[in-house]
């Protein structure tokens, strides 16, 4: 295996860390010095070599530890993974999509042998080898969606299409930005987005739903979303708010660079073939302010974005309480110089 995997934690002593290479490839979400909602959708996969956009499902140095963290979260709260009965076929579609993509994109890490419906899956980083029958749930230790998403970074929502709407009828959600699958399961697109400020009035959701319903087989798309999190915690769920909410108050001018993380979601969309459901993977990337300002362009831009952001968004994204401290810290890295277009760091 050529890839190195960190031994790190996302809770307790928070030993999560980014290598210089992980920082360079971080999916910085701002393509200009200010931020407002947009339907910022691009085709996926595709992007410069080494970026998280290059492969269908990005595997990075955090893979093994993220999967261990998911296991802890699920053991404490099994309802983080739910699939309504009619979604099992979509689970198989997702399992196929992920296994085929990973075996193709990372042959040194994953192998898939298929002989009709007799499948043989090898996942070397996690030490898993499994022979099973595709579409026969009795041959897996759990449902197909749960089986494959215990081995894949990122959260996964499976959306059922009916009545010209999308319904969140299955998911594996353990690294979420303060939303609950157990609360949202069975809701439609407008219902589960109801808490987002301003966007409905702006017509963002009507456009986004229309776009999603038109996503066809073989056309995959992505967009970036972001929020702010104190400490490198994947499980910032409403269920565990009592554990991570108070941590917002532990930020000081001295530690804000290490403790305050930019949390970026790489959201992708896939039309699944047999179920006609939509898969919506939400991959979470974390980098603290110190990591980010090591790229001068990002230091300047993040300062301007967070300084000038609409107060309603600062509140929704959960950092209003520390905004002043964050902006003051970042101001040291903003010399007023112009920034180059696009999201990527300057070479």
């Amino acid at each position: 295996m050529t890839m190195h995997f960190n031994d790190e934690t996302f809770r307790g002593d928070y030993t999560y860390h980014n290598s210089p290479e992980a920082i360079r490839r971080f999916p910085f979400p701002f393509d200009q010095d200010s931020y407002m909602y947009s339907v910022n959708i691009e085709q996926h996969p595709g992007g410069p070599k080494g970026t998280p956009f290059e492969k269908t499902f990005d595997v990075d140095e955090h893979y093994v530890s993220e999967m261990a963290d998911r296991e802890i979260t699920l053991a404490e709260d099994p309802l983080r993974c739910q699939s309504l009965p009619h979604m099992e076929l979509a689970g198989w579609d997702l399992l196929e999509l992920i296994m085929v993509s990973k075996a193709r994109d990372y042959p040194e890490l994953f192998t898939l042998h298929r002989d009709g419906n007799d499948w043989h899956w090898i996942n070397r980083p996690l030490g898993i080898e499994k022979k099973f029958t595709f579409l026969d749930p009795a041959t897996l230790p759990c449902g197909p969606m749960e089986y494959i998403t215990r081995q894949t970074q990122g959260d996964f929502a499976l959306l059922h299409e009916r009545d010209n709407n999308l319904w969140m009828d299955a998911g594996m959600i353990t690294s979420q930005a303060d939303w609950s699958l157990d609360f949202d399961v069975g809701m439609n697109f407008f219902e589960w987005h109801a808490p987002v400020p301003k966007a409905r009035k702006m017509g963002v959701f009507d456009k986004a739903l229309k776009f999603l319903l038109a996503v066809g087989q073989g056309q995959h798309y992505r967009r970036l979303n972001w929020t702010m999190t104190v400490n490198p915690r994947l499980d910032t769920s409403p269920e565990n708010y009592h554990k991570w909410g108070p941590e917002k108050r532990t930020v000081t001018p001295e530690n804000v660079g290490q403790k305050q993380f930019l949390r970026v979601e790489l959201q992708t969309f896939f039309r699944l073939p047999r179920s006609n459901a939509l898969a919506f993977p939400i991959r979470c990337y974390l980098a603290n302010l110190e990591d980010l300002v090591s790229q001068p362009k990002w230091g300047r831009r993040l300062h301007r974005v967070l300084r000038d952001i609409d107060p309603a968004l600062a509140d929704y994204k959960g950092f209003a309480v520390n905004q002043k401290m964050i902006v003051e810290y970042l101001s040291q890295f903003d010399d007023g110089a112009p920034t180059s277009p696009g999201i990527f760091a300057d070479a």
């Binding site: 038109a214 087989q217 073939p273």
Partner: protein, 318 residues
Amino acid sequence: MKLALKVTEIEQLSPLVKRFRFEDPAGMALPVFSGGAHLTVEMSERTEAGEIIRRNSYSLISDPYDGGGYEIAVRREDKGRGGSLYMHTKVAEGDEITVSVPSNLFQLDLRARKHVLIGGGIGITPFLSQLKQLDMEQRPYELHYAARSRDEAAGLKLLPQAAHVHVHISEEGSRMDLGAVLDGQPLGTHVYTCGPGGLIAAVADQAARLGWPKASVHSEAFTAPPPGEPFDVVIASTGQSIHVKADQSLLEALEAARVEVEYSCRGGACGRCHTKVTACDGRILHNDHWLSDDERAAQQDIMPCMSRFKGARLELDL
């Protein structure tokens, strides 16, 4: 996404209907699909007036989980725009053919406790892939196939002989009794209808009378765009005037003039080609299943894949 395939089989199913099978020329597996999906076939023809490209959508009738090939059934419409006639008279085994990847506007609702499928005439086609999916998923269903005569019942050759597959031939006195089909179905049953507008309306009406929830009643009125009298449209942004021929749909005329319009089903069902009308002096002949009655009456919207125009001036927001 488009696929360049090869026509590997053509079979005459009935006097008016042919079955076509397409496979990848190199034998590669094609994307699998879901029951009820369709694909769009591109038909390019050289004529004296230059090359014309017609695109018609057809329901897939083959096994959805089999990537070995795609099959469709095409009914010859002698009074149509010429797409089905082209398929019947110009396409031969061994020909190359360009199709879209499958897309589904008529999927099964897998929440249903039971599925009742009702197909009239060539409307049987989407159910042929659906019943294969239902068999594989081991879901309870019954299928009712209604046709005027055995000669017209092209689907007979493709249907399994099974207790839950019912054939109603009205010429033989076994007309389908919708009341009997729908009454007494278990709670949680979903009904799907594909066929002539009258059949779809009759099923919806019967289901409503029996108190079925609206969300359990599905239909697909998939028809190719009808021909009609020629007319002209004006493109608002450029002032360009485009002539729509009798055997051409408005969408096809726009495409021939290289005016970009999004599309998917080309049958008035998916809503992708929805276009705003900026001026209308005359009457839009709405043939789609997308716009509401109010929208039709307002004449400020048109679905170019299906609808036509009669009058002095039609200007589109393109």
